[in-house]
Symmetry: C2
Subunit: 332 residues, 2 copies
Amino acid sequence: MGRITLQTVAERVGVSRSTVSNAYNRPDQLSSELRERILAAADDLGYAGPDPAASSLRRGVSGAIGLLQGVLWAVTDPANLLLLAGVAEVCEEQGLALVLIGQERPEGADVLATTNLDGLIVHCETMSDQRRRHLEVRGIPVVEVDRDTDTRWPSVGIDERGGAAAAARHLIDLGHRRIAVLVIGDGDHHWSTDERLAGYRREFDRAGLGDEIIIVDDQVHTRADGRASAARLLASDHRPTAVLAMSDELAAGVFDAAAELGIRVPDELSVVGFDDAPTATTVSPPLTTVFQDHREKGRVAARKVLGLDTTPGVTILPTRLVVRESTAPAAV
Amino acid sequence: MGRITLQTVAERVGVSRSTVSNAYNRPDQLSSELRERILAAADDLGYAGPDPAASSLRRGVSGAIGLLQGVLWAVTDPANLLLLAGVAEVCEEQGLALVLIGQERPEGADVLATTNLDGLIVHCETMSDQRRRHLEVRGIPVVEVDRDTDTRWPSVGIDERGGAAAAARHLIDLGHRRIAVLVIGDGDHHWSTDERLAGYRREFDRAGLGDEIIIVDDQVHTRADGRASAARLLASDHRPTAVLAMSDELAAGVFDAAAELGIRVPDELSVVGFDDAPTATTVSPPLTTVFQDHREKGRVAARKVLGLDTTPGVTILPTRLVVRESTAPAAV
DNA sequence: GCAGTTTGCTGTATCGATTCAGAAAAGGCA
DNA sequence: TGCCTTTTCTGAATCGATACAGCAAACTGC
C-alpha cells in the first residue's frame, strides 16, 4: 500500500493535495474547519507531516545551518562551547537545526557536500580550496569567525589586538619587565594568535621592552599542554615575573605548573589569560584575563549568516581586561 | 539560464543524466575515461555535485543523525561534551552529519519534524508524546541514553547503581557515618538520579545507617548551585563528615563552599563525585569519583542508532570508583 | 440587484536526482 | 566465425512535496 503521503491524506479527506499542503504550511489559505478535518485524518492515517526531504527540494531551503570546526576539538575547548551555545540559541529561536560538520573526508564524500544547508559558519579552520569552491558554486552564505578575511565572506571577530594590548599594558603598569608570552597553537597559527601577539608586542615596544620578553611557542592548546610548557619556562634560572597566556586554559596550566614548583600566584608570578572562560573564575586565585563574549560572537555569526544582521563585512566585538587576583605588582 | 543540474552536465558531455549520476555515485558503472570527462565538464560548468535535497528525496536517506538534548544545557555541561564527542567521532568516521536538536517549539513547527534524519539519539530529555509519536510514525531509529527504557527503543546507559553503591561503600569503609547526598536535578529527576540514589541507599541500609544520612535535593545542577547548596549544608551545627555529590561539577561546588568556610578537604570533609569529568583532576585536591566513559557511551549510542552495533535492547556500560585525594578516614 | 472584491479550493508544472530493466557494444571461448 | 557473457550506457518512472494561476462561490457596498 506504499507510504503515506500528502496524496493519501488528500484522498481520504476528499480534497486536493495542495489543500493538504496548505493545511500544514498556510493555515490562512483554508477554512479552519477543513484544516481540522485534514489534520485529524492525517493523524488517523499516521501521517507525520510533509516529508522534509521533499519539502526541502521543492522549497529550496533546508531549515538548517552548519557550523564547521574540527568537531572533536570543538567540544574540548570550554570557551568554544559558548560560541556553540550562541549559535544554538539563534537556531532554536528561529526554528532551525544546527549541523556540526567536522573534518573533510578523503574520498570526495565530504559531509559538507552531501548535507544541505542554508548557511555555514566557519570557525577556526583552514578550509581547502575544494570546500571553498564548493560553497561558492552552491551559493551557500558563509560567515567566518575569528579569521582574517581578505576573502569574499563576511566575518565576526573580536578586538584581539586591543585586548592583548590591554593585558600587556596591565602587566607593564604593575612594573613587570621580564614577561613571558605563552602562545596558543595546535599546529599552525590562526589569525587571532597573530593579532594577539601583535597586541602584546605593541605595548612591549612602547615600553621599550625587548630582550626581556620571552616568547614561548610550544604548540600548546590544552591545560595539560600549558602546564608542561610553563613547567619548563618557570624552571629556568632567570624566570619571568609574569606570564601572558593566550587562553584561560593555558593560564590554568601555568597555575598548575606554578603550584607544583611552589611558586605563589600572584606574589611571585603574575598570570593573565585570554577569553574569560568559565575556567577563569573557578581557578584559584581568580584569573585576570581578557574578556570576550563568545556567546554573542556565536549569536552574531548566526544572525549574519541568516541575513538577520545585515552589517556588511567584518564585525568586531569589543574585548576588555578583567582584573582579578592573579596579577600583582612586580616584586622589586 | 537556470541552475546547473545533472542534466546540464549530461548535455554538455553528450551522455545521459544517469551516466552523470553514476559518475558521482557508482564509479564502477562507467569507464574511467568517461568519468574523468564528466567530472571535468562538471567542474568547468561550476556544478557542485548532486543536490543533497534531491538526492535525499530519491534515496530516502539523509546522511545525518540527530542528537536531541536541550542544546543550551548540553553545551554547558563538561561531561556531556564527551558524549557529544563520542557521537561526533562515529559520525565523522561514517561520513555523516550530526544535527543538534533543541527544545520543542510551540507552534507545531518543531525542528525535529522538519529535519530529515536517519536516526536520533535522545539524551536526558523527557519527550513529548507528540514527538514520540512522530518518530514512530516516521520510522526513524531511536536510541535513548541514560534513560529508563520501558519503551520500544533500545538504549545505552551505565551501571549507575553499582557506581553509586561503590562510592557510598568507600565512605562507609573509611568510617564515615554522617554522610550527605547532594542530589542533582534541574527541575525533575531523571532516571539516572533515582538509580544513583538507590545505589547509595543500598549501602546505607546495608551498613545500618539511617538517621545519619542527609539527602539534599535543592535542584542543583551547576558548580555554582553546588556551592550554594553545600554552603548551607556545611554551615549547620552538626555537619556531615562526607558528601556524596551526584556529579563532579557539584563536587567542585562543595570544594568551593568548603574553602570559603575554611573546612579542609579531605581532612575535615571527604567528598566523592560522579562522572570522572575533566573537572575531577583539575580541582584540588583531585577528586575521588565514579568513573564512567561518556565518550564511549556516545560512540555506542551512535553505532546502535546506525545499526552498526546490533546488540538489542539496553546496553549498560560499567562504572568504577576512582579513588583520588578528596576522601580520607573519618575523624574520630 | 449588480459590479467588484474576498475567500476557499483545485490542477498542473516543477524541484533535481536515482534506480532498474534493458539495449548496444565489446570481449571470451571453442 | 558464431554464440554467450560482460561491460558500458540509456530512458522512463519515480521520490513527495510546493507554488501559482485560475475558477467558483460567497460576500461587499451602493
